[in-house]
């Protein structure tokens, strides 16, 4: 009755719908919302979360989780700044910082896949440890002196009218959309998420795939970290607290299921944009920051409930309909 195509499109339609509703509401209530500059700001401000979320999508489709990304983004930023401060040219420093992110991913993978530790606990541990390493490398303070003027090109520069972080984000999404939907890695990711045992008994090397996914997430987080450091013109070991939750929210909003085996890269992108539009719009309207937290929480839960109802789990739309009609 429901083919996967149908329910996938329907669900994607739903979150695009939510995004559009939000945009319309904000555009009506604030004249500054629908300007080129503002939209550009939203895209740029969300680009770091979005880039990491691309990798996290894969991991979370397999029911894994990585909550160390907030600390990793700080570490890679600090490494980037420190290397450049020490005289290394920008590009190699940037690549090394990205690699550092990948190493964190590898450590996570070895705990989760090798030692079979629960992903939440494993990445909770690395969240603390990596944060500590970031502080150590940074010497307890922010690395800001001696950075060349072009250090912030990556985070604040433009290619034509488009900010560089946005360009990078779009490239990342094109590549990973292709990987998830058209390659072996994508199919194996869905298979492992849908049924790990079946995947294993079908000859898929579950361990190898999982390691790869965590490393990819680490590398992407490293990339986000260098962009962030560049944006702030400093390597700051304190940034990124709460970053992991922004990433996770974006991925869940985008349609990844907690039971695994479902989700798309495009969906995650829309999820990240919903978060960005919501924050930005509420800021423009001057809504109290405390109210913003409440609204974000409500929107997340509502969006996931809608998603579940569409897929036929949880709240039954028909019975809700009946109840509402009965009352009227």
């Amino acid at each position: 009755m429901n083919s996967r195509l149908n329910s996938r499109y329907l669900q994607r339609f739903m979150i695009i719908g939510i995004l559009l509703v939000l945009c319309v509401v904000f555009a009506v209530m604030s004249e500054e919302f629908f300007t080129y500059i503002n939209i550009r700001n939203i895209l740029r401000q969300q680009s770091m979360v979005a880039i990491t979320a691309a990798g996290a999508t894969f991991v979370m489709i397999t029911t894994g989780l990585d909550i160390s990304v907030g600390s990793t983004i700080a570490l890679s930023g600090v490494v980037f700044a420190k290397l450049v401060q020490g005289g290394m040219p920008l590009l190699p420093a940037c690549l090394i910082a990205i690699l550092v992110g990948g190493i964190v991913g590898l450590i996570n993978a070895s705990m989760i896949v090798g030692a079979k530790i629960n992903p939440v606990i494993a990445t909770l541990g690395s969240m603390y440890a990596v944060r500590g390493i970031a502080y150590l490398v940074a010497g307890g303070t922010t690395i800001a002196n001696g950075l060349p003027k072009n250090f912030n090109v990556l985070g604040r520069g433009y290619i034509g009218p488009v900010p560089i972080p946005v360009v990078i984000m779009i490239l990342v999404y094109i590549v990973f959309h292709f990987v998830l939907s058209r390659t072996l890695l994508g199919k194996y990711t869905y298979a492992i998420g849908g049924n790990k045992e079946t995947a294993r008994l079908s000859g898929i090397s579950v361990a190898k795939v999982m390691v790869l996914l965590y490393v990819i997430t680490g590398l992407l987080t490293g990339l986000s970290g260098t962009i962030m450091a560049s944006r702030l013109t400093s390597g700051n070991p304190q940034i990124g607290t709460g970053f992991e939750f922004d990433v996770i929210i974006a991925v869940f909003l985008g349609g990844v299921s907690t039971t695994g085996g479902e989700g798309t890269i495009v969906g995650t992108f829309i999820g990240a944009m919903i978060v960005g539009v919501l924050s930005n719009g509420l800021n423009l309207l001057g809504v109290d920051p405390f109210y913003q937290y409440i609204i974000k929480g409500i929107v997340l839960v509502l969006a996931v409930m809608l998603d579940m109802a569409l897929k036929g789990n949880g709240l039954s739309l028909k019975s809700l309909n009946k109840r509402i009609l009965a009352k009227s």
């Binding site: 550009r40 700001n41 922010t142 800001a144 809504v287």
Partner: protein
Amino acid sequence: MKKILSIVLVMIIGLSLLAGCSKKEVKENTDNKEVASEKDNKKDEKKPLKIGVIYLTAEHPYYQAHAMHTQNYTAEKGIKLIELDGKVDQANMANQMENLVSQKVDGIIYCLLEGTAGSADINMAQEAGIPVITFAIKHDPKTADATFVGIDEKSAGALGGVEAANKFMDQFPDKKAKIAVIEMTGVSASTDRSDGFIEGFQSVITDAEVVVRLNGEGKKDKAMAVVEDAIQANPDINVFFGANGDQGLGALAALEAQGRGTIDTEIVISHDGSEPELLKIADPESALKIANANLPKDLAEATVDTILEIINGEREMKNTDDIFVPSAVITGDDIEAAQKFLKEQYNSDTQL
């Protein structure tokens, strides 16, 4: 069925926004006053000025007072104020600067967290033609040119240090002074205060020893925790300097928890002069006896005046003056003066 849920969703968002519009009340008053003053003065029909302010944090009593004065002052002048809470997160502030620029405000008052990061934001705003001044924490003068309004942290700290040393000699003429400093490590404004305090103190008591400098992260609970540990390791520390009000109070709380914290055993000095600090100062038993006071009213008005100067062309956008607003030292000796300070700066009638 899906329609119903979508409508419900929109309704909830709408309701939340309406709820959030409680913030807008202040601005509505501003708008009303504006309309009134325009009618009264029959001035030119220009749109009211929009000024954006980014505070370091909305949680600290100093900033709450500062915000209140900024709101009142700009309301008097008929200026529309957009206030943002930086949440002590430089990345967040960078986003907020971008948002203010896209809203095309006429000027920005920016309390940034990190000198170099903030510079990039300042440059971006100035390139878009929007003047920016910084206050309280200074931007990095090597990477950005802008006017700074604040207190001379070092001198303010030193003033407090001298007072504290004198008081110490009064109270404990025979003891050796051992100092613990609780500050926001890595934030220049905070460490400058501490440096100034130490200098001032040691200028009077030359053999005073700085036992430890702790990171209280600017928060009361953190300060309390680190001081508890410090006095476990060094029970004979007898001078505690908190580089802001909350950290001073936190240190005091840690001492009180150990049964100390009275004027008989040590002196606590804080920096800010907020109401809870003054209450402790007025208490003759409490060890908190000296507060370096930033004057939120003076500082707030100075920031608005300065940004207006630039907007009106009386000052250049890239002017690199440092405008220092004097600070005061409040001690337990003059309660009347403290009461006056509390009323003026914090608008509070609490009896000390």
